[in-house]
C-alpha cells in the first residue's frame, strides 16, 4: 500500500525511522546507501595539529549552494571589491571538496533537507557559517510555518553572522572570526555532530516529514 504524507507523520512511523537506518528509502534503494553510523576521529595533538589547522584556516573552500537570500552576498565577495581569494577563500561547487558551508539566510523545511544532505556529504573537519538573522532565530520568518527557527538544532554552527542581510564586509568579518576559531583548534563540530547524531537526526526528522533520503550521507 502506498504511503501518504499523513502516514509518515505518525508517532510510530517517526519512531520506526529513528530506530532503523535508511527506513525512509524504498526497498530497492536501501542497499545502495551506507547504513552504518559515521565514526569520530580524534585530532592530532601539539604542533602537527596546529600546522594542519593553519592550513585549514588558510584554505577555506565554500560550498557553492545558495541556501537563502544571503547567497547574493557571496557574489560581490568574489569580485574585485572584496576579493575573498586573497584570504585563501574559494568557492567550490561540490560538497565533497568543500569545507565551509555558508547557510545563506533562512532555511525552509524544504531547504533544510538539502542542507542536511549536503552538510553530511562534506568531508570533515567542516565548518558552518550561519549567515543572517534567520539562521539565529528565524528572523523575519520567525513565525512562518515552513521556516526553521534555529539552525544549530539541525546541524552544528561554528559562527553566526547577524544582520538582515549582512553586507559582504560582515561576511568577511565572519570568515576572519572562523579563521581565528580554526587556528585556536576550537572547531570540533564534525565530531560533535557524530557524537550527538541521534539528537540531530531526531530534530531533523521532526521537521522533514517526507524523509525519503538515506540516514547517513557520509
Amino acid at each position: 500500500m502506498d504511503k501518504t504524507t499523513d502516514d509518515l507523520t505518525t508517532r510510530e512511523d517517526l519512531d520506526r525511522q529513528l530506530k532503523m537506518p535508511n527506513a525512509g528509502l524504498s526497498k530497492e534503494d536501501q542497499p545502495l546507501f551506507c547504513d552504518a553510523a559515521p565514526q569520530t576521529v580524534a585530532p592530532y595533538r601539539g604542533i602537527w595539529e596546529n600546522f594542519l589547522n593553519w592550513a585549514r584556516a588558510n584554505s577555506l573552500w565554500i560550498l557553492g549552494f545558495g541556501t537563502g537570500c544571503g547567497a547574493i552576498e557571496l557574489r560581490p565577495l568574489m569580485t574585485a571589491r572584496f576579493d575573498m581569494y586573497r584570504f585563501g577563500v574559494q568557492a567550490r561547487p561540490t560538497p565533497r571538496q568543500s569545507c565551509v558551508f555558508v547557510i545563506g539566510g533562512y532555511a525552509s523545511t524544504k531547504t533544510i533537507k538539502r542542507v542536511v544532505r549536503s552538510y553530511e556529504q562534506m568531508q570533515g573537519p567542516k565548518f558552518v557559517l550561519g549567515l543572517g538573522s534567520c539562521t539565529i532565530n528565524g528572523g523575519m520568518y520567525w513565525d512562518s510555518y515552513n521556516t526553521i527557527n534555529r539552525l544549530d538544532h539541525y546541524i552544528p554552527v561554528d559562527q553566526y553572522i547577524a544582520g538582515c542581510m549582512p553586507r559582504p564586509e560582515a561576511l568577511l568579518a565572519g570568515i576572519k572570526e572562523l579563521k581565528k576559531q580554526i587556528l585556536a583548534g576550537d572547531t570540533e563540530n564534525t565530531n560533535k555532530y557524530i557524537e550527538n547524531l541521534d539528537w540531530y537526526k531526531a530534530n531533523q526528522k521532526k521537521i522533514i516529514t517526507e524523509w525519503d533520503m538515506p540516514d547517513y550521507n557520509w
Binding site: S59, T79, R86, R96, Q123, P125, W218
Partner: protein, 304 residues
C-alpha cells in the same frame, strides 16, 4: 650497478621534486596574474601548497570502490610517466630522466593514459556529473590530440628521429634553429593543442565550474583530491618541458627552462583571460578544423 640504479633513482627524485614545486608555483603565480587582470589582488602564490596540505589533512574520506581509489593513482602515473620520459635539461645528468630513442610516442600515450584511468575511477563514483565531465574531457582530448600528433609527426620527419632528446639537440646553435622558426606550421598546430591540453579558457568546459561541478573529480575528496592536485602541477610542468624540447630548442640550464616555460605558460593565461568558454562541440570543431589543417600542411611540407 646497484649504485648506478640508486643514483638514477635519487636524481629522478630530485627532478620530480623540482618539477612539482615549479608546477605549483607556476599555478599560484598565474592565478595571481589572472586576478590582476580582473582587478583583484588574488590568492597568495603559495596557495596551491596550502590547498594540498589541507586536502591531505582531512580526517574523513569516503570511497566508492577499488577503481575509485585507482583513478587518482592512474592519473598520477600518467603525469609522472609523461614527465619521466622527457629530458628536463639537455646534457644534465640529474634532469636527464629516462629519455630514450622513440620516447615521443610513449609520451603521447602517457598524456592519454592518465585521463583514461581517471575516467574509469570517476565513472565508479556514480555521480551523474562525473560521466558528463569524462565524456567532455575525452572528446576534447581526442580532438586536440589530432593537431598535436600531426605536429609531432612533422617534427619527427623533419629531424628524422622519434627521440625528444635528439629533436631538441638538433635545434641547438641559435634561436633560428628552433622548430618554431624552422617549422612554424607544426609549432602553431602544437600551440593550439597546448592551449587545449591546459584546459584553460576557452577550452575549460571539461571542469565547467558553473554548470557541472568540477567535472570528472566531482566526488573526489581528501587525500585523493590532494593527489590529483599534485598531479596537476607535475603534468603542467611535464607538458611545458615537452613543448620547450619540441619547439623551442630545449633548455641547457634551469634558468633557460624556467624562462621558456614561464613564457609558454603565459600564453595560456593570455588566451584564457581574453576569451570566453567554448561549448564542447565548438571546441571539437575548432580543433579539427584550423589546427588540424595547419598540422596536415606541416606534415605535407615535409614530404614535398
Amino acid at each position: 650497478m646497484i649504485e648506478k640504479i640508486l643514483l638514477k633513482g635519487f636524481y629522478t627524485l630530485i627532478s620530480l621534486f623540482v618539477i612539482t614545486n615549479y608546477g605549483l608555483l607556476l599555478m599560484g603565480s598565474m592565478a595571481r596574474i589572472t586576478a590582476r587582470v580582473q582587478g583583484r589582488i588574488g590568492q597568495p602564490v603559495w596557495q596551491p601548497y596550502i590547498d594540498i596540505v589541507k586536502n591531505n589533512a582531512k580526517r574523513w574520506s569516503i570511497s566508492h570502490g577499488v577503481m575509485f581509489y585507482l583513478g587518482p593513482v592512474f592519473r598520477l602515473a600518467g603525469g609522472l610517466g609523461t614527465y619521466l620520459f622527457i629530458p628536463g635539461i639537455l646534457g644534465s645528468v640529474v634532469f636527464a630522466n629516462f629519455s630514450f630513442s622513440g620516447d615521443v610516442i610513449l609520451v603521447l600515450y602517457f598524456i592519454f593514459f592518465g585521463q583514461l584511468g581517471m575516467a574509469l575511477g570517476a565513472g565508479q563514483s556514480g555521480h551523474p556529473y562525473s560521466p558528463v565531465g569524462v565524456s567532455r574531457g575525452l572528446a576534447q582530448m581526442t580532438a586536440f590530440e589530432v593537431p598535436f600528433t600531426l605536429a609531432v609527426i612533422a617534427l619527427a620527419s623533419q629531424y628524422g628521429t622519434l627521440s625528444i632528446t635528439e629533436i631538441a639537440m638538433a635545434q641547438q646553435g641559435g634561436i633560428l634553429n628552433w622548430s618554431a622558426f624552422t617549422n612554424p606550421l607544426a609549432t602553431i598546430a602544437g600551440l593550439f593543442a597546448f592551449v587545449g591540453m591546459s584546459m584553460h579558457n576557452p577550452f575549460s568546459v571539461v571542469i565547467a565550474p558553473q554548470e557541472i561541478p568540477i567535472g570528472p573529480p566531482t566526488e573526489y575528496q581528501s587525500s585523493m583530491l590532494g593527489m590529483l592536485q599534485t598531479n596537476r602541477a607535475i603534468f603542467n610542468g611535464a607538458k611545458l618541458v615537452l613543448f620547450v624540447n619540441l619547439f623551442y630548442g630545449g633548455a641547457n640550464n634551469i634558468f633557460e627552462l624556467v624562462i621558456k616555460t614561464f613564457i609558454l605558460y603565459f600564453i595560456n593565461v593570455f588566451v584564457g583571460v581574453s576569451f570566453p568558454r567554448f561549448r564542447i562541440e565548438q571546441a571539437i570543431r575548432f580543433f579539427l578544423f584550423v589546427p588540424t589543417i595547419i598540422g596536415l600542411a606541416a606534415v605535407l611540407i615535409q614530404y614535398i
